[in-house]
Structures are given as structure tokens and as C-alpha cells.
Amino acid sequence: MKITGKIMKFGDNVDTDVILPGKYLVLTDPNELAKHALEGLDPAFTEKAKKGVILVGGKNFGCGSSREQAPLALKHAGVKCVLADSFARIFFRNAINIGLPVIEHEGISAKLEDKDELMIDFKTGMIQNLSKDKSFQVPKLPTFILEILEDGGLIENLRRRRDKK
């Protein structure tokens, strides 16, 4: 499982209210949710993310609410993966459960710059910075999490495992 994309970089404590404000939680269509992704920090985010981006955050990315609509809005806005020094735990689980890859690695934010183009191999944990011609290794995701991501989310994973039985 590999992805490539350009970085959009944010700071520490990017919370779920700026990722997706509470007033939009009554929306159920992911594409409608996506229109409001990260509008609290960058009103033009959706336009910029359209072609596919990799988000880089600092510490405690996704803190706040348990709203799964937050990673869902990011995914449907064009976010291919989120890298951060650390994540709020509910956001981390939610992202994996809806099939949005997340990589947590202390110090990763300082290594990367806005607009850098990356290629990420989730199986090996190898991250190539194509803009800087550099690469580095992050710890691999546990196998069961990688399987959930490969299946496209927890529901698909449950279905596949059940059908295999």
C-alpha cells in the first residue's frame, strides 16, 4: 500500500471543531461534509486539497470530539494520509476505522515542509521526500491495522474476516 502527495502543514492541537464544526454534524453525505473540512483554519482548504494531499500536523492532531465526521470530511476532501508527532486517540482510531491512513511519529513534523512531495509505503514504513531527494523510516503499523486500511476500513475488514470463516 503506497501513496504519493504534496504536504499541507499545520501546527499542534488541530482540533475536531476546526476540522469540522459541530453545526455541520447533521450532514450525512460525506461529500457535503468535505466542503467544510478544515474551514476553521483555512477557508480555501477544500480547493487546495482537491487533487489529493498529505496533511502534516504537530502534537495532538484531532483533539476534541469523537466525531467521525472529522476524518471522514478530510478523506472525502482529498486527504490521502495524515502524519503527526502525536494524535488524539479517538481521531487516530476513527481515521483507521474509515480507511484514512495515519502515521504517528515523534519529530516527523520538524522533518517535513509545506508543499514537499512524499511517497509513503505503509507496508515498510519508508517515507520518501521526493522534493528533497531524502528518505526516512518510521515504525510500521501493526499488521491488523494495516489490514483494516488495506480493506478500506473496519466494516469492510469485519465483512472480509467473517466471509473467510
Partner: protein, 424 residues
Amino acid sequence: MNITEKILAKASGKVTVHPGEIVDAKVNVAMVHDLTGPLAIEAFKRIGTEKVWANKRIIIILDHQIPAESVKAAELHKKMRKFAKDQQLRIYDVGKGGICHQVMPEKGHVIPGTVVVGADSHTCTYGAFGAFATGIGSTEAAAVFATGRIWLKVPQVIKIVVKGQFGKYVTPKDLILSIIGKFGAGGAIYKSIEFAGPAIRDMSIAGRMTLCNMTVEMGAKNGIVEPDKITLNFLKGRITNDLVPFEALKSDKDTSYAEVVNIDVTDLTPQIAYPSSVDNVKPASEMHDVHIEQAFIGSCTNGRIEDLRLAAQIMRGKKVKDGVRTLVIPASQEVFLQALREGLIEVFTKAGALVCGSTCGPCLGGHIGLLAPGETCVSTSNRNFIGRMGSKEAHVYLASPATVAASAISGSITDPRDLEGGNA
């Protein structure tokens, strides 16, 4: 082992567990509300399992957008009622419950020593009853609906030992704000916070709930208090089902913790979290001339009867300052009724505050009292992020019910101890 480890060991059928270990735990009760439930229902249907794992262990509570504030919300509520009916689940509808984190323990769905998950980040509130309780997302809730199990990483535990006596108008909210200020918004990510010490043993269930409720604001997985007589007194007559026998687990005396923090509350003063981060905390006494347009007393953090009594004590016989709108929202129907019996609703109404039916409403900027650009609100709720209570150009300050009540009267954010001093 500490109490969190004991609960997780028991739920996963193990003799011992260690921090960092991933366990497959049996869930005792799972909860979803009207903003996380619809997605969970959709996901559950996609799994293709016909019936939920145990219909008595899944609770549905309508609280965020009630009564339906839009046709969209009404549709979501309708969908949840149908699911509850089809699956024969317990549902707390409009007028029958209130805010999920108040209703769950009030109605006996939180049992000490068990694992409770809820599709809401403040599910950690139930740690006040000695349960392991943590927030999950909708898809994960759907998986729990189908399987009754969840994988959890055993957290490292930070023990916070609290001693001393709270001063007048200093509350557990001030304590947790000061703790979050010290730890930082990400200071306890993935960790558990265990509250202990004489000041916790003396504390009401309401205060313990406020502490555990806000542990998520420093990233914690759960907050927990060992159950005791106060816990038992609250739960007596409320736990009517026999899903699991009550078990008052305690941490072993010789167990070790990732960190132990000692706090004396004797010199603690009223605290305020400034915009736009919950860890941006300073003493209320340092506040000068921050005028407010709105004051909000309510939410799963501070909408309990003890909170309303405290606010009413300050507002009794006084008037909300012109130019300020004050909202008072009891955390549940039970709290509303008690406030009515004690005459608190009359106190608030005479003071010029608007008392609304139980809902999460303004706390998350869902409905009832959203803020316009440039407006300032002081609130007893739990988050002050950009755009949390309406416009992203509005400012939200977090404080205790005493501080918010005093501020509603004076028109600017006020240390409640000063209001008593005579300027009102």
C-alpha cells in the same frame, strides 16, 4: 494492578495486564447519541449482521440537537427511533432523558468495574463511578453493536492525589482546569488519569464527574475514581438490571504508576481557560474588563444540580447585566425537576436568565444560543476551540458555574469571590 488494569484484565479474561499490551475486551454497555448514532447505524447495516450483540447493553440517547432544530436533525432522530424499535434497544427520547453523560449513570447503565464505551469523547465521565469508560467513533460503535468487543491498549496511569479543602466558590471545575493548564492539551495522550486522595474521597459524585469528564481535554483515554460509599449512595436504586454484579474494585496499595502528582486545593482559586485552547488557563483574579455577551451554565461538565445550586446562590435576588444573555440548561430531566422543586428555576428566571430544556445545544454550537463574530461567551462547558460555539470569530472562556454566574451579573468575567465583596 491499578483499578484501570484490573477492569481491563477482567474484561479480557486475563489474570494480569500491563501498560502497552493490547487486549480484546468485553464491553458491558455501549452508548450512541443523535450525532454519532446515525453513522453507527449505517455502518452496522453495512456489516450485514442482522441483530445487535445484546439489545439490553446498547443505549441510544437523543441529546445534541433536541428538540430537533432542523428537518435534517428530525430525520436523523427518526432514523434512530426506528433502529431502536427494530432492535429493541433502550432509547431516551426528547423529554425522557437529557444529556447522555448525565442520563447514563442516572438511569443505572454505568456499573463500577465494567467497560463502558460511548460514541462521544466525554464518555470518560463515567470513570467517576469506577468504570473504565472511553470515547469511540461511530464505525467502532457499529463494530461493538455487532460483536460486543473492542481492542484496547492498556494505558499507562497517572495518579493525581488531591488533598486540602476547597475555598469558597472554588470548585472541582477550577481544579481540573488548573490540572489541564499544567499538563497541556496533549499532556496525557493515551494515558489514564486516576484521581485519589482525601479531597476526592470527600467530593460529591457531581464533582468527580466534572473531573473525569475533562480528562479527555488533556488527551487521556479515561479518568477514574475508586468507587466508595458516595458512589454506592448515588447508584442505590438506580442500577436495576442485573447485567453484571456490582464490584467495587480498588487499586492495589503497592501498584506503581507512570507518574504521581500531588495537589493541595487549599490555596486553589477560581480558574479560567482563555480562548482557544482548554490548556490556556489563568486565575480568574487576573481577569480585567473582559466584557461578555453570553453566559452559559450547563453541559455534561457542569449542568448538575450541585452546579445549578451554586449558580443560583450567586444569582438569587440579582439581575443579569443588561447586554448579557444567560442560558441555564440542566443536564437532564431529573436535574431539571430537582431544580424546579428547589426553586432554582424561579431564581434564574427572575434574574433574567433563560432556562432551556436539557440538551447539549450551545456547548458544541449545535443550536440554542450560537455566537456572532466578535462576541464573547463565558461558559461552564468543556471546549473553547475556534468556532466551537458558533462564529469562528467569537471568543469562548471556560469557567466554573460560580464564575459564570458572577460574570452574568457583573457583565464581565468576574472572580466570584469579588462579586460577594460588594460590587453587585
